[in-house]
Symmetry: D2
Subunit: 349 residues, 4 copies
């Protein structure tokens, strides 16, 4: 079983079927198609507000374009030290923003706090031309650590940001997983808590390649059409991205996918912490589980065909691994993984 990432798996049959359907007949290109119109309508219903939608093929594009709409080149964008935009996008935000500064903030379990942000902004020397100027805040929901911000936490962060005039971006590559954990309405955890632009993920949760930049603060949408085109992220046959996202939203497929993934992660977490000596790094709130394993156990798991990535610093005695579940993770594989770890751990002990 492959627990490396939620992007090593395929795609939902429903989404593939939608592509076949969308391939029929001719339609206007570059987004002037009925699939895109339907997508905007659906998202507007789901988020219970007027919004603008820009479908793109990757999460990095969604994030970098969103940030470019929020910051001047001399701006500073605040995010958690381990945020994808800071460490996993090879400088895409700097490229798209013409050189803005991504500023990492510390925080437990992959989450920044309103207090840390407020302190940082207080000392940010606003108006001093020698320093990058505070421009935006970006949160990952769910985080890189598989944890989830509550609406209250987001609201507090937004308050700190807003008091300095900063807009709020949410990297929602795993937004559905966060939503399932919270059990709240999409609006509550986004624009009602202050989120101005959401990178709404589809690819990691059942689509082939489909993300949407969802803009709640419509004045920020103004430049996105040009930015997207200019970056080569306006797909000529855009119907094929929009159709994926429509199928993803139809019949709450996105939610049932995420619910399944989260349940398998919870099953994994529960099974692993029941094994004496094993500890999770972070609470398993979405579809990721992080656990320390001795080197010997890891090697044998790999020999047994299990795949996963290392997480953080590794020593000769071992280190943490990351396990990611998805819409198609089956519970047998999960149980088999737990069993194998249990047996190996007792031997090692």
């Amino acid at each position: 079983m492959n627990f490396c990432s939620d992007n090593v798996v395929g795609a939902n049959a429903e989404i593939l079927a939608a592509l076949i359907e969308a391939a029929k007949g001719d339609t206007a290109s570059y987004g002037n198609d009925p699939y895109t119109a339907r997508l905007e309508k659906k998202l507007s219903d789901i988020f219970e507000t007027k919004l603008a939608v820009f479908p793109v093929a990757t999460g990095t594009a969604a994030n970098a374009l969103s940030l470019a709409a929020m910051t001047p080149p001399w701006g500073a964008v605040y995010a958690h030290n381990e945020a994808h935009i800071l460490v996993d996008e090879c400088g895409a935000p700097e490229f798209y923003t013409a050189g803005a500064k991504m500023v990492g903030l510390p925080g437990e379990h992959g989450k920044i706090t309103a207090a840390t942000l407020a302190t940082t902004l207080t000392h940010s020397d606003k108006g001093n031309i020698h320093h990058n100027q505070p421009a935006a805040v970006s949160l990952s929901q769910a985080t890189e650590c598989g944890t989830v911000y509550t609406p209250a936490e987001i609201g507090a962060i937004d308050e700190a940001a807003r008091s300095h005039g900063l807009p709020l971006h949410m990297d929602g590559a795993r937004f559905a997983n966060a939503l399932i954990k919270l059990g709240c309405r999409p609006a509550e955890v986004t624009w009602k808590s202050g989120v101005d632009i959401l990178s709404f993920g589809g690819t990691k949760n059942g689509a082939l390649m489909a993300e949407a930049i969802v803009v709640f603060r419509l004045d920020l949408a103004e430049t996105l059409a040009y930015r997207r085109k200019r970056a080569g992220h306006l797909i000529s046959k855009q119907r094929f991205v929009s159709a994926q996202l429509c199928a993803y939203l139809d019949n709450d497929l996105w939610l049932s996918n995420a619910r399944h993934a989260n349940e398998q992660a919870a099953r994994l977490a529960k099974g692993l912490i029941a094994i004496p000596g094993l500890q999770l790094l972070y609470p398993a709130e979405a579809n990721e589980v992080f656990v320390h394993l001795p080197t010997a156990v890891r090697a044998k798991l790999e020999s047994a065909g299990f795949k996963f990535y290392s997480w953080g610093p590794q020593t000769v005695d071992g280190g943490a691994i990351r396990l990611v579940t998805s819409f198609c993770t089956d519970s047998k594989s999960v149980d088999s993984f737990i069993d194998t770890v249990r047996k190996l751990s007792s031997k090692v002990a």
Copy 2:
């Protein structure tokens, strides 16, 4: 019938089937999948040489990334005045190259000539720090005017470029259509004629969204992996782009698609020029036909359900239109279009 563009149509059943097949099972993400490996092998066989391949979702991305690999920010890139990179990409090349200058050259039928390029380069003030420095040449094959460069023409352009140390890029959004017209081997019209990087198109010729940057001069490939990632054009589930391209190449689907499109364009052209008073703007060598039509005729064609775009300046009396055929244009629609024009023209006359 919709003659607006070859991106208003759907996709080949074979390519859709390949997506369904590719959706099965797990595989490594970010291009480390067997589909991408197979794609590189196939392209290498087809082009009869070692090469590097970077699949992306759009032609603008393929072009802008290719040019960024060829020019420093202070470089000048030469292309035809009407080239897509100059007029239809909202400045994508400038964005990707950090501000290089795109220099338009004149030329009949959408093609630049070796002589014009040579003269331009002779007066380009190489080494003078006050001026942008000659850096690269880009050809569209087929051109925006539906015409095709012969290997001899490309070779001559390459000679002019090479004598000043400039690499050669080919925008092959409609490469298959050009190849069908030429009836030569892919290698002859690319690297054997001096092409260093080819934007190899799939989307306009049957794919959903699939293009490949094909790099023949391998030292130019060095930075492309980072540039692509940083631009958000590295697709996490890249298998879904590579699988499209594999199916596109399998059983020469790309060639039969292009052959069909070219044949329909030729049928259109033949039918239209047989109508008294009608003249083509350019020879119809690929899958595009350009013709002047009186305003009255155009309006009635549109009323009759035919769709197409205007081309160039329009006056009250009329102007040129562009008709684009594709892998799924049927000859009945073509004949119907011709018949309608013939009837309308006789009435107008």
Copy 3:
């Protein structure tokens, strides 16, 4: 005598004296000094309006920063085909604007016309995301051809620009020379005619290295402080630029300098056209004279110690040369040049 450029000469004694004076005592750095405050006051008086001033060390910096304040990265900036920003700054505008497109317009004697601009803007496809968007217009005053726009001409160009929402930049590297020719008030030929930002030149007209970005439309000044700092063009001991400019403006030194230079150019022009067979390329309205000379004459002039640059295409029989006068060109040298040409021309003839 060196007629190569107005930047091959030294500087006014008054300006040098001002540097010595400014070197006394300590003062706040980065522009918070009394010299800069006095400069802003003086320019405000001279231009009879409230304005913002950003002193910099080069004209290229002044131009590129000004344009960056006016255009988004996907903008198009219109200027004459031979404008300094298009051909002599190695792509500085593209660098500073993060890749905007500089669009050259034709026009006699180095000047664009309102009509050409209006036609171009009408066909600029505003709002079409595939194309760079009209963003700004830039005029050189005096032009690269030594000609001068009248207030009426600028007003008409501004009207064409304004009707499409475009701001107007003026490259005034030789602003004083233009002003002398026009004999009007500085306000008339700038903000009263629609100019929003002026690159106000000092270096070519007696300063060592001192230019000022003069912003009339104050909302455009907002970002310039950050842009300038970020580009390394905020001089730490800014008093030394501001002091140059204050001395330049004191006692109308800038105007007497320019008057002298223009007079010498007029003397040159008058003398040269009196020689049978000689013709000026453009009316000599400022401090530059362009004239065709046979190759043999040119070579002998150079042997006689006269220095000048070629202008435009050169053939075996000759070509045009550019002669630039400055605040310190003496009439003896001018007469000697004319005499030498006259003698050589009669021999050649």
Copy 4:
């Protein structure tokens, strides 16, 4: 007395005299003048090696251009957390490098260590396209904390950098001050210790506005001429920058200036630490002294006409201040400052 910075003072009489001398006669512009040639010769003699020189008007320009010559846009540049390039240039390095990442490293007294760098580089994931790639290291000499790297320390850092293929930049805005402290030859602490490009400062040490990019690794100089021009940092009358630097180097003026400044800083430091309860933040090795002072003392110093900046976090009880000496700081002012602090401190105590 003004201890705010070494850029609040004027300029050496010798340097002003050189400007007057340089203003005589005509000479080629854009660096093709004898002053620039002499500058290159002098620097070559002083550094005992072949080198390339690019005079510019500001230290930010020197730094940002140097870094741009060393890193691709997806590179990571390592420097101390408090380095000028990281915190005081409003993102100039990101602008010039087209978005490279400046990575701050911790280190006592404003200095990074070879060990910290080596560890960081070991975990930098070289070759992983998802992460910015290690590209360059930048050291400040003297540092922002007024401390100085020894040749051995630089050599060790260079070894760590070189083993990963990284070039070494030195921000030498206060290079002369560091050199005086070390008492070594300029070559020892630069290219012989691995420095590839040096931002050689003049402005803070007696010039009006004059810095030089000194390139030891000549292949890195290749692009600098274009980068400088394109940034508007090629001064047309460059003789006026080069003449400043020539006078700065003539008769070891730069060294006597720095010696004087360092001596005054040492005098300040010695006087202050002799006062009971006062402590320096860092060893005063160059021309800066950092000391904690109670709020009450600070306020009274300011009332007494002394000027200085706060340094780091300030509380109601006080905080650190920075005192900078220069070529023209007189010892009376220094003694007066010390006396005043002594008296105020005893009263406060």
